[in-house]
């Protein structure tokens, strides 16, 4: 019996770290990670304390009955926002208590969630292109501007995905994407085709805006997780700065 408990707490700790790391890279706020981990730990009758940072998680699990505990660190991999995982883990954390899942079942579910398929690449590219065109329209651009932004966003995202696959630094990926989009959307402005093209140039890079880091930053700050909030905000700021750098490069090339 005692031996079984011992294995339990180690397996539980490892699983909790996996879940936490998965939540972190999928774009959850710090409060959400802490709540989810505590909830899962509580349904196994344990207490979990965490130190959460952008790149590393530190976890301590104990059950309060004896002096055994689990204590470990885990590094998170590169962040890639995935809200299907967020939603799946949130659902799972409630199901564990309701249906009395074992740790093996939790591991299986985590594995399934991590392997969930993304939208088909062509769909993502086209819809993000349309989103760019929508930004352009909202800023007051015409049909031709919208088309150029559509093209720019689509190719920009394709370049970003390609660069990420080639394992470039994430910020450099954003720079390449901004460069591509602005180069394409800047063509009408450079050669004087159509009218009101500054909208196109300015909105072509908007599909890169770091919405999740910035909103999570504010969420963290207002929850009192000031350190994480600051770090996420800084990350968002770095991405914005990289986008601006891409725009400036294009302005230099086109001599605007």
């Amino acid at each position: 019996m005692k031996e079984k408990d011992k294995i339990d707490i180690n397996a539980l700790g490892a699983t909790l770290l996996d879940v936490g790391a998965l939540l972190m890279i999928s774009g959850a706020s710090t409060g959400r990670i802490r709540n989810t981990i505590s909830r899962i730990a509580a349904s196994f009758g344990c207490n979990a304390d965490m130190l959460i940072s952008q790149r590393t998680l530190m976890l301590n699990v104990h059950n309060g009955k004896d002096d055994r505990f689990f204590n470990s660190l885990k590094r998170t991999s590169v962040h890639g926002i995935n809200f299907s995982v967020l939603s799946g883990i949130s659902r799972m954390s409630w199901l564990i208590a309701e249906k009395n899942w074992t740790i093996a079942e939790v591991n299986l579910e985590v594995k399934r969630l991590a392997g969930l398929p993304h939208y088909p690449r062509a769909w993502v590219l086209i819809l993000v292109g349309i989103a760019g065109a929508a930004f352009c329209r909202l800023a007051g651009g015409g049909l031709f501007d919208m088309f150029m932004v559509f093209l720019g966003s689509l190719l920009g995202l394709a370049v970003r995905q390609k660069a990420a696959k080639m394992r470039f630094n994430p910020y450099i990926c954003v720079y390449f994407a901004a460069l591509t989009s602005a180069l394409i959307a800047g063509i009408p402005l450079k050669f004087g085709i159509g009218d009101a093209q500054e909208h196109a140039f300015a909105t072509s890079v908007l599909f890169l805006i770091p919405g999740v880091p910035l909103i999570n930053s504010f969420s963290d700050m207002i929850d009192g997780n000031l350190q994480n909030g600051l770090i996420r905000g800084l990350n968002g700021f770095m991405i914005s700065f990289t986008i601006a750098l891409g725009l400036f490069t294009v302005m230099f090339i086109y001599q605007f």
Partner: protein
Amino acid sequence: MEWVLFFERGFWFGMAAVGFAVLFNVPVRTLLAVFIMAAAGGLTRTLMLQYEANIIVSTLVGAMLIGVMSILFAHKKHAPPPVFAIPAVIPMVPGILAYKMTLGLLNLAGDLHQETYSQILSETVNNGLKVMLILMSLAGGVKVPMLLTRKESAKEIRFKKRL
């Protein structure tokens, strides 16, 4: 404003949000909700701007509407509120203002005469502050329902009063 143009704007707000939702890989069942929320929030802001409300206040109200709707949809579609709320508020990000601000900053780094310098400085500071406050009202507005109900999880929020 003409009604056709008004609802066209709503459509584009929705499409921009759906683009981001797909980029963030939200579950398929939530896509329609994201579209509706973004359109509702964006149109609220457009309407308030039409009646000459301040852009920051209008954004805050639009974001608050999105925040409340995100909790409603979270119950209905079984997904956490941020999954709906984050893609839905992104179309309201002040892209043109941010562009003008960055342009202004670049100009300020160049060699300028005193008069043009102070003019560009005041414009840049104005745009920058607007960008910052709009972003803060977006993020804050979404969080308002959670803060008011003082719950840790949207699952605990009930809309009907219990006896």
